[in-house]
Each structure stands twice: as C-alpha cells, then as structure tokens.
C-alpha cells in the first residue's frame, strides 16, 4: 500500500486513490516503425529489481498523470514528477545516485 506524492495537487495519496500506468518514458512508435521496434514499444517492459520509473494517475483525486521513481525491492520512493517530460528531471536522478550509486534504467543513469 504505497503512498505517493501527487506533484499536481500536492496530496500524499494513498494507493487506493491511484491507478498504475506501467512503465514511464515510453516513446510512442507509429506507422512506419519496423516490426521489432514496434514490438519493443508495445510489449517489452523494464522489470528491474531496484530503481524503476513508473506512471501513476491520481485517479480518485485530481485526475492527473505523474511519474514516480522508486525502488521495487525496498519500496523506497526517490521522488515524483509531472508526466509532461521525456526523461526524469536531473534533481531526481541526482537523488537516486546519492542512494543507489551506479544505477541505470533504460537509457538513463
């Protein structure tokens, strides 16, 4: 039962208020994408033991989508940030580096 801070309305939201949206920072692949790249976009997901970036929606709250960086092992939350970005903010990455030196996730580290 996680608690995540909604970066829009400022509420520390109980998991019952949130709906999960899977992996964050997916890059949409449309027509013209080769089969293997499209397969990666549609189906292949990170499943890390450790640092992870996820999408969540404050569904029973302000309705906004946001991103959360957390550890899938300890449930430690490194931070949440709005969904209108293509990569995690530097500040979040720095915080993760402080706690999990040498981390990497997808294209980020």
């Amino acid at each position: 039962m996680l608690i995540l801070h909604c970066p829009y309305c400022g509420v520390d939201a109980d998991e019952t208020e949130l709906s999960p949206g899977g992996e964050a920072h997916l890059k949409r692949a449309g027509p013209g994408t080769p089969d293997d790249a499209f397969e990666r976009y549609l189906f292949h997901r990170e499943n890390p033991k450790g640092v992870h970036f996820e999408r969540w929606r404050h569904a029973s709250g302000c309705g906004k989508w946001f991103h959360a960086a957390r550890c899938t092992v300890t449930m430690e939350v490194f931070g949440t940030y709005p969904a209108q970005v293509t990569e995690p903010p530097q500040e979040i990455c720095d915080r993760i580096t402080g706690k999990r030196p040498g981390w990497s996730w997808g294209a980020f580290s």
Partner: protein
C-alpha cells in the same frame, strides 16, 4: 482428568456463573473464562479430531497459537466454523460443537486412517491420486471430501454487522504485554500520537502469570498502574481484543477488533477492521513456546508448559492431578512451581540438559520436586489421553529407564519470538544460536517511503529474554520510534526489573536424540494437519530440499494455525535431515493475517444495498414504478424491459420490439457516455483517437466513430457530433464513459501534452431519450417548437432547439433502423421531458423499451455491440467496418498494430449473419465445428456466435458470429454443437448480418 481448582484464577469472577453447551452438553464456567479454560474445568480434555488421521486431540495452548481446539460456534445465521476455543471468551448461552469427526467426537469412523497411517505418508495425495484420471471424480475426490475438511461452512446470510475504521498515528504499538506498555509509555511521553493494540482481553501478557517484579511491585500491579496512566494521556489510545493482522508497504497496517464476540448484542458491530497508517510500528508481539518432539506428544493431556501455567494461574484450572514437566530450558520450571503451589503433584521434571544449574532449578528441588537431568520422554503412554510416560536417556535411542504414572505432560522446547508482523513487509531474520530461535535482524527492517526502517520489534519479540532485558529493549524502541517521527518532548525513566540468572537452553529437536523409526512416526510436528517427524524426513529423502517445497509436500504449517507451533521444529528436523544449518535452510514466508479474520470484517459495511454505489438516471424512479426488470450496466441499472402484469420477460421484450417497429418506442439513453472535446487541436486529437477522419466533420453533423487501443483492438464506439469548429461531443457506450474519458486524458497528458485540447465528461449533465419508430416525428411535431422535417434535420444531423417547454439538442441518429431522434435535455428536466413524451405519445401507441429490445433491433440491423462482437481480440476489419477506417490518415491509435501480419491474415474470423435452418435460436457463445481435431485432441473450430436472439420482426432466430472466411461463404451451412449438453448440433446458414431493411429506407425518412 482436568478440573477446576477450589480457589485461584486471577482472571475469574467466581461470583458470576456462565452457562454454555459443548456438543449439546450443558456446562458451567465463570465470567473471565475462555471456552478452553471452561472446557478443561469441566473435564473435557478431548476437543476434536486431527485432520488426516482423525486422532483424538486436546487443548495444547492457551492463546492464538492453539492448533487443536477448533470448534463451530453459534448456529443459523451466526454459525461460524474453526473458532479457537483458547481465544473465545465465554459468555452466557455460548454454543460450541466439535469438528472433523463422524459420527461423534468420542467414536469416529475416520480414525481408521490412523491405523492405515503407514499407508498415508507425506505426499500421499500426490503419489496415490495421480491416475487413472476418471478415478479422481468418482473415487478420490469424494473420499477426500468426506474424510477431510474442518468445520461446517455457514449456510445462512450472516446476521451480524461489521465496520471499517481508519486511523492515522505516529506510533502504532502492536501487543499489550509489558513490552508494548513500556514502548507506548515512552513514545507517548515524547509526544507522539500512539495507538496501542492488544489481541486478548487483558493487558500485561505473560508477566503477571510468570510472577515477575517491575519497579519493585508485582507485574500485575505495574501493568494496572501503567494502563491507568496511559489511558489518562490524550495522545495515547488503547484497544483490547484488537489484533495486528498484517503490516504492509509504507506503514499500512491492518488490525482486527473483536467487539461483540465476547458479548453478542443486536445492532452493534461484531468485528471492526482497522486500516491504520503509522509512521512507525513497534511489534511487541511476544513469543510462542515450542512443543518438544517425543513419541505420543499429540495425546490429549500433553500441553505446552506455559499454557498449563496460564490455566492454573489465570483460570484456576488443574490440567490433571499429576503433571510431568519435560523441558530443555528453565522457563518450564515455573510451571512446576505453579502446579505445586496450587497443591498439585509434579512427579518429575524431565530435563534434557545434562547438568543445568540455576536458582529456578534449585527452587524446584527445594519444593521436593524430583529433577531428572539428561533425561527424555521416550514416549507418552495412553490411548485417548495421557496415562503415563516412559523415561529414557536423552542421549540414547529410547530404552525406558522408568515409567511414571501421570495424567498430564507439560512440555517446553524453548520460546520463539513472534516475528510474523516484522516479516510481513520484508523484515529479515537472524538465527540466534543461544536461544535457538529466529529473531528480527535489526539491520534489515521493513523499509518505508523515505528509505528508512519503519518497524521495530520490542521485548521478547525482538529476542530480548528475561523481564529486565524485555523492559529495557521495549523502552528504547518506544523512544526511538517517537524520535523517528520527530517527537522528543519528554523522556521517562525506564521501568526496571531484577536480572534473572538462568541455565542456558539446549536445543532439542528430537527426543530422545537417537529415536528410531517407530518413535519418529509418533512424533507430531503439526498437530492440526498430522505432520510427523518421519514425514519431514521422508520429504528430505525424496529430494525436497527447499523449505517451501517441504511445506507443501507434507502440508506442514499449512493448517489454520499456519504453523505457529510447528514451523521451527519442522525446520530443524529438515535441516538435520539435509545436514545443513538451520539458517541455511531458512524459514517459510510469513503472510498476513496473523490469525484468521472474518470475511464479514473484510467486507465491512459493503454489503446489500450499499455494496457499491448505484447510479440513477433522472428517469430511474419512473422505470422502477413501471415494471422495470433491471439489468446492471456498470454502476448503472438499466431497464432490460418493462414487464406488464402477467407478462414474462421474453414476452415483454418481444412486445417492445414490435411496438417500436410499428408505432413508437422511448428509450432512456441517459447512461450513454457524453464527452466534450474542445480546443484548437480537438479535430487533430480525435483523428488520433478514432479510426475515422473526424477533423473533416462539418458543424451540425454526426459521424459514427470507432476507437482502438494502441494494440489495434476495438475498444469502444459511438456517434461524434461536431458542435462548432473547436468543439466535439463524443458519445461512448454506457460502460465506456469513464474508461474512454480516462483514455483520452492519458494520451493528452502523457503524449500530446502540448496540444490545445480539453475534455470534460458530461455524461450526467444530460438526460437523453431516444424517440424511435415510424411515428417518432409525428409525436415531436405534436409537442411543437422545432422543424424536424427531413429537409430541416436530415439523417446524421443534429440541431439545438425547443420542443414543447424543453430546451433540447436533437441528434438524428438511429441504432434501431427506425426513424429516430435522440434528444438531450438538461438532466434536471429529464423526468419532466420523459413524462411529456409519454403524454404526447399516448395517441401514437407509445411504449418505453429496454436494453434487450435495443439489442434485438440493432442485431436485426447488423449493428455491432462492443462487448458482444468485440472481446479485446477483435479489430474493426474483422467486423466489416473497413468503411469506418480512414485511408487518408497517416496515423491513429492502433493503425500500426493493425498492419501486423497476424492482423492482416486472410484467415481471421470475420463477421457474418447466421440463420438457423429450423428457425430456432442459436446458443450464445456456441462454436462452429470444423473437421478433425487439434494436437490436444480438441475438436477443430471455424467460428463462434457473438450475438443471438429471437427476432419478433422476422419471427425466427437470428445471430451474428465470427467465421473463418465468413463473408466469402454466403449460403454455406455450419454446425454448432449445443452448449447445454444437448446432443444434436444446431445447423445455421451463413447470411448477411443485416437482416432488416438493408437499404436503410426506414431510418432515412
């Protein structure tokens, strides 16, 4: 025989007699008794039968760890099976019955399993019941079902009420023994908001029974003073009969409060489920005593030493006249002393240790109790209960040195900290060599959102042994928990107790250590599930090296007590068999709840009328008053049809269809989703959401649209109306409104956040009525106010205007194939508008119709229904909807996916109509068979029915289905085996899915 002592019992009120029955027999106890203590006081040592061998079982423990004394409680709507007698407080009129025996507790046929026990070893079920396959259904399963199974499941609706509670606290302390009290006291002094919960009805735990002294006074006195002081603090809340059931991520804790079990009262909640968010949790959950593994340790009369002490001291109950104590540690000596003080005989203390020495041991000797060191119980004598023990050397194989006559045995294998709650959320354990138990590894606690630990174990639950260490540890943990929440107001002096000098415990996993096979096959580990030392050893020999596998193979620890007594002993036997150290073998996973909680508590108030919220359209009450036969659709309830007196549901539906086709029908369409999409980029956005081109739609016009997921599959459909250049109103299915609105928002917020588009879900802002049938225009003209002629408002157009007294928006769209106007009014005018239509329509034969008539009419027209023709694996192209897929657009959600080879495969099943040769109705969901079978021996199939109805218009069965190469096989006949077990397959011809008015002449007038 057990009996009541003439005096004593610190929890009893001997002035208040309490009457109860056990298996119909009238018995009497006192206020303050548990059912277990009262049964023992009445000489009822036999309380149940074991699960597999149906061996006689007596009470072993005095608390939540009890494996044997499970009973049925109550009757009728208050019947509940598998209740532990040890945690059931006695009340006047309590009715208990024993379980798992037939025909009676005293004489049980299933005990035959006992004599057959060498044929029923570990893994018996797996080995025996493998083949032949039909034997499962006819032989094995009925046998297992008859012989297995604990209490009876209740049959009636639960008569009690339950509720949920929410609490946010700084520090939650679980366990109200002296450790929990000390922790809560210090955390509260620091200024933290504290909630202290205790699963039993009494504060103080074991300390008052064990006779400790705290701060110079008897423990019981210190407990009373402390509770009184805590209750006076406004920042500390205390709850008894409230068990910490589970600890979850980020300080979420579930607790289970039993409000009415001890005092049933009409109209008050019986149980309460607490959902607690705590910044810090202190688990002061105590410890559980371990049984010793000697032959016959399951006989009624063999009990945990601590439990016997509880029964003597707390409830004035004698377990027997002569109790032999058998132990590997000092604590059991307290039981011998308590028995002696109560005037009962202790013929001997059998101590497995070679030469232990301590003040406690000396005290026993001083009372004249014989202490036999280096000795073991080779076996317990007796059939249905203890009659004596054979004593041997612990070091040997069990050759009897002497026999001792006795009627009870008090055993102690040491104490295991209750680490369940610590472990639920990832807290790790370490093996403590000295005390031979697992305790919390303080370096690896459960982690909270901030990356720091949020659970602290305190007292013996943390491995602190002896009153002095328990208090010191708990005091420090309470202080640390408060500090971790930022509270440091005051610090109180820690409570103190004298140091105790004890002889070290010696681990004893087999008694005697060299016991042979015959003895090992009579040493019980799991009393409830009948798992013996020999079973675990067999599992190890057969290659089950993982403790999790052994558990499932032998069913060790899988009973309702979840192995509270058996886990560590079983683990030790397994590790010895594998020749490994205990910590290397590890423990099984501890899972919540700590003890079973009632289903009623989990459901709480969510039952009956308030199981879930009901959404009502503005016309809901009219439907209810006019024979609506309801169909749940999402959270809505829609009329399936309106039944008239004496009419069947089927007759009503057929009437409604006929009347709509011939005269005039009204449909409450208010539940349809209505999502407003607005902004400079609205057209561009809808072009991405739909397969169709929406940006070219002219204001004033409507277009039927399809929506797909990014995977290409059809997810929703509905008519889109363009209101103005920047504004569209998207209709969705009834069930799809919230989902599609969320789907739009997801893409807008996370992919195209720079597009200028806003959405609003207006579903409940409007009431919408479909006015349908050849007389639809006439009735609206009669009401007047708006030109609704084909010239003024052509098919697939919409217009704002006035009808009668009502401000309306009229959509000329049709889902029935008839002339149809869907008219939206402000929600608060919905009922008045509905009434006005009924009044005006009286002369035109108006009748409301329900969802089933709607479905039949759309099927007659060959219109698809999301959820019938689609199931998440169907693409628009399968349904012949290519005309609704834009060829001009470079992109839309699902376009790339629909280009995949599997999606363009010509062998995909496609939509067709199906007409039975005999006019009957095809079974829903039936498959069309194809020649031969597949590799699994299953019949090949070539299509399936997606919608099927009796059409009153055509007076025959009609259906739609997906069929391989279907559109190219018009006229071919397929066979559909029945789904109800009937023999003859139904034959149906492949036809066009449009059964009615294929040219659309009826709707376009």
């Amino acid at each position: 025989m057990s009996t009541r002592l003439a005096s004593g019992g610190r929890l009893l009120d001997r002035s208040k007699a309490v009457d109860f029955t056990f298996n119909g027999k009238r018995m009497r106890g006192f206020a303050g008794d548990t059912l277990a203590s009262a049964l023992l006081a009445n000489g009822q040592t036999l309380v149940g039968r074991s699960f597999k061998y149906h061996r006689p079982r007596g009470i072993v423990a005095s608390g939540a760890e009890e494996p044997n004394a499970l009973v049925n409680l109550g009757q009728g709507p208050r019947h509940e099976p598998n209740q532990r007698a040890t945690t059931t407080e006695l009340f006047d009129g309590l009715r208990a019955t024993s379980q798992n025996h037939w025909p009676s507790l005293e004489f049980d046929v299933g005990v035959i399993n006992n004599y057959a026990s060498r044929f029923l070893p570990a893994g018996f079920y797996y080995k025996t019941f493998m083949a032949p396959r039909p034997a499962w259904k006819h032989v094995f399963e009925p046998f297992i079902r008859q012989s297995a199974g604990l209490g009876k499941a209740p049959k009636d609706r639960d008569a009690d009420i339950y509720e949920h509670f929410y609490a946010h606290v700084d520090v939650l302390v679980i366990g109200g023994g002296i450790a929990g009290l000390a922790a809560a006291r210090q955390a509260g002094a620091a200024g933290a908001r504290v909630l202290l919960i205790e699963q039993t009805a009494h504060w103080g735990g074991r300390a008052p029974v064990d006779g400790a002294e705290i701060d110079g006074m008897p423990a019981a006195e210190w407990v009373n003073d402390t509770v009184e002081a805590l209750e006076a603090e406004e920042n500390i809340r205390l709850r008894r009969r409230c068990m910490g059931a589970g600890i979850y991520d980020h300080g979420y804790v579930m607790a289970y409060e039993r409000l009415g079990d001890h005092d049933p009262q009409e109209g008050l909640p019986r149980h309460r489920l607490w959902k607690i968010r705590a910044k810090q949790v202190v688990t002061a959950t105590g410890a559980i005593e371990r049984p010793l593994s000697f032959a016959g340790n399951d006989l009624p009369g063999v009990m945990l030493a601590g439990a016997i002490r509880d029964y003597v001291v707390n409830w004035g109950v004698s377990p027997g006249d002569r109790t032999v104590v058998v132990t590997n540690n000092d604590d059991a000596y307290r039981t011998a002393l308590a028995l002696k003080q109560a005037g009962l005989e202790v013929p001997a203390i059998i101590d497995a240790r070679p030469a232990p020495a301590s003040p406690l041991i000396q005290a026993a000797r001083d009372l004249g109790i014989k202490v036999e060191t280096g000795r073991a119980v080779a076996k317990v004598k007796g059939r249905a209960r203890v009659e004596g023990v054979a004593v041997s050397a612990q070091a040997g194989e069990g050759a009897a040195l002497q026999d001792i006559t006795c009627d009870a045995v008090a055993m102690s294998g040491g104490w295991s900290p209750v680490v369940h709650l610590w472990s639920h959320c990832g807290g790790k354990l370490v093996w403590d060599e000295e005390n031979a138990h697992f305790r919390p590894d303080v370096a690896r606690p459960p982690i909270g959102a901030d990356g720091a630990g949020f659970v602290r174990a305190a007292g013996i639950a943390n491995g602190a042994m002896g009153t002095r260490d328990v208090l010191a540890d708990a005091d420090a943990q309470g202080r640390a928990a408060a500090l971790a929440c930022g509270h440091k107001r005051r610090k109180k002096t820690a409570p103190s107790a004298a140091a105790e000098e004890a002889a070290p415990l010696e681990p004893v996993w087999l008694m005697p250590q060299g016991a042979g096979a015959a003895l090992r096959a009579k040493m019980w580990l799991d009393f409830q599930n009948d798992v013996k030392v020999s079973d675990v050893q067999l599992a190890a020999r057969e290659g089950f090296e993982s403790v999790e596998h052994t558990k499932r193979y032998t069913t060790l620890g899988m009973a309702t007590d979840q192995g509270k007594l058996s886990n560590i002993n079983g683990l030790a036997v397994l590790s010895q068999s594998l020749n490994e150290e205990i910590p290397q073998v590890g423990t099984t996973t501890f899972r919540p709840p700590y003890t079973p909680i009632s289903m009623g508590a989990i459901a709480g108030e969510a039952r009956g009328a308030i199981f879930q919220p009901l959404r009502r359209t503005p016309m809901h009450d009219w439907h209810a008053e006019n024979g609506a036969y309801w169909e749940p659709v999402g959270h809505w309830r829609r009329p399936y049809c309106y039944q008239r007196p004496g009419e069947s549901v089927e007759e009503a539906v057929q009437r409604e269809v006929r009347n709509t086709r011939e005269n005039l029908g009204l449909l409450d369409a208010s539940t349809l989703g209505k999502i407003l999409v607005k902004g400079a980029d609205a057209g561009k956005f809808l072009d991405m959401m739909h397969t169709n081109m929406m940006s070219t739609l002219k204001p004033g016009r409507c277009r039927y649209g399809l929506m797909c997921t990014e995977n290409g599959f059809l997810t929703d459909d509905g008519v889109v109306a363009r209101i103005d250049d920047e504004t569209f109103l998207c209709h969705t299915t009834t069930g799809g409104a919230d989902r599609i609105h969320a789907h739009m928002e997801e893409w807008l917020q996370t992919e195209w956040w720079d597009w200028k588009v806003w959405t609003a879900n207006l579903t409940e802002q409007y009431a919408q009525v479909a006015v349908v049938g050849p007389k639809a225009r006439e009735v609206l003209d009669l009401m007047g106010g708006m030109d609704l002629s084909a010239g003024a408002l052509p098919f697939m157009g919409w217009a704002d205007g006035q009808i009668g007294d009502f401000k309306v928006r009229v959509y000329r769209i049709s889902f029935s194939g008839e002339l149809s106007f869907e008219i939206a009014v402000d929600a608060h005018r919905g009922r008045a508008f509905w009434d006005a239509l009924l009044e005006a329509g009286a002369g035109f034969g108006v009748m409301p119709y329900g969802t089933e008539a709607l479905h039949i009419m759309r099927a007659e027209k060959g219109f698809i229904m999301i959820g019938d023709e689609t199931d998440g694996t169907v693409i628009p192209q399968d349904l012949g909807l290519d005309w609704a897929i834009s060829k001009k657009k470079t992109d839309y959600l699902g376009k790339r996916a629909q280009e995949r080879t599997h999606m363009t495969d010509p062998d995909r099943w496609k939509l067709v109509g199906l007409e039975t040769l005999d006019g009957s109705v095809l079974p829903d969901g039936a498959y069309a068979t194809a020649p031969d079978s597949n590799a699994n021996g299953q019949r090949n199939v070539q299509g399936r029915v997606t919608s099927t109805y009796h059409s009153p218009t055509l007076n025959r069965g009609i259906a739609m289905g997906l069929v391989k190469h279907g559109p190219d096989r018009m006229g071919e006949v397929l066979e559909f085996p029945r789904t109800d077990g009937g023999k003859a397959a139904v034959k149906a011809k492949i036809v066009s899915p449009v059964f009615y008015d294929p040219d659309g002449e009826k709707q376009n007038v």
